[in-house]
Symmetry: C2
Amino acid sequence: MNELEILKRIAARAPRAGRGLVLGIGDDCAIYRSPSADLLLTTDMMIEDVHFRRATHPADAVGWKTLARGLSDIAAMGGTPRLCLVSLAVASWADQRWIDAFYGGLLRLARRTGVSLAGGDLGHAERVMCDIVVCGDVPRGRALRRDGARPGDAVYVSGRLGGSALGLETECGTAWKRHLRPEPRLELGLVLRRLRATACIDLSDGLSLDLHRLCLASKVTAELDGPIPLFRGASIDQALNGGEDYELLFTLRPGAKAPPSTTRIGTIRKGKPGGPLPPRGYDHFRSETRSA
Amino acid sequence: MNELEILKRIAARAPRAGRGLVLGIGDDCAIYRSPSADLLLTTDMMIEDVHFRRATHPADAVGWKTLARGLSDIAAMGGTPRLCLVSLAVASWADQRWIDAFYGGLLRLARRTGVSLAGGDLGHAERVMCDIVVCGDVPRGRALRRDGARPGDAVYVSGRLGGSALGLETECGTAWKRHLRPEPRLELGLVLRRLRATACIDLSDGLSLDLHRLCLASKVTAELDGPIPLFRGASIDQALNGGEDYELLFTLRPGAKAPPSTTRIGTIRKGKPGGPLPPRGYDHFRSETRSA
């Protein structure tokens, strides 16, 4: 298959227009007619042997997760995702069936979340590598940022933590499903925006590191004073440092009512900016290779 | 250096706000406040040993070219570039000096063209790989597309072709400079939009393949009836099939006056959709490895 043929196959499965998308795959750029809103743009890489393993991660899960990671960033800003662009460099072992399954998983989540696949790039590499851009929007000036947490605010997380790290270790059960096909918390992001959460970040690299980032951005520190909600079977280390849970970590003004399925874990305090835990979550530039 | 420190260094060199950019590097998403316009989005990969070689391509040229390729897509749509997001996976040989020089080259072109570096991702890989997204805009409904060429339209190219391929072969002189630091034709793109060019594409993969793509999209064919403008020293094969010239290929209604430094090379005709030349330009899925 040549590039034109592969693009044709992908384009045939990706709706070309609708929801503001004026022109999708097939030209030099995609064209998006934005409503009068603030645009959100985020980009994430998925690299073989860093973020997934050929032997254990099905192609459709790799596609799903590639998009889920970008959607999680849009959720963390309280936005609505609109379109994505996907650059895929395939290794020689990844045949047409693998490519089809990859886009199959990605497009399944895209349909569920109202996102159009609007373009991308194709190439070859030694190992499979994918980069996604997700574009979304949010009413002007209303994005949830990392830098708005103030002393006295309550710190919350959604869901239960450590499931993804547990799944990666055991490769079975609901934890493995959780690792392979995380659910971006888009609806919760919208609720938090309406509640005027003061800060929000998604838990992509582990609570310890992501809370550290939120505190640095807001120039505050935090005190953990509630129990961390654990995924069934997960250890406290997996919950604090495991990463890839894609839950939301957020802060609310004192006394504000939190949405369901969220847990208060602490309080924002004045002090040397940074989190209260050693930030041991995943950092690509400390650890040369990751467990998956 | 850990990821936070590397991001801090990059962020210190990238202006955080201005020209519609509400929030740059450092949150889950970048925020862009778009004017009432159509947004253009494009993505391109730069892969070690496919698009560049460690031994011959200086890091700042790799950074420059990464952005230039995206800007060229915006130029081909008649748009104005606004911001970019850069995902970089570095190999172990690429040290902090290489990373700094890479961003140095990229940011130099960004300043010159009024583009903000608004975000990105960092990771590790066996070989250096970079993916860029450029976001621009164009007045509503006025983007130059590939699909508007009609029988009788005149076919033009800008500049002189084959220089990049010649430079890749000789690694010296102006042709090598041309290969390393191509100049995206942003001003010409704006002129062509005002002239209401009927179709436009940038010459990234060679005239033979890119003209084929334009003809396919417009459901027409073309006849070459003028001489192809050759870069000094380049062969006709380099001009037709060499790729990476980043000039613009466009069509004008019969009788329309063309801008300076462009050459009429043919005429659009009715017929089986496709170009008049065997499309031998670069296709990642035909050739496993590229000469650079």
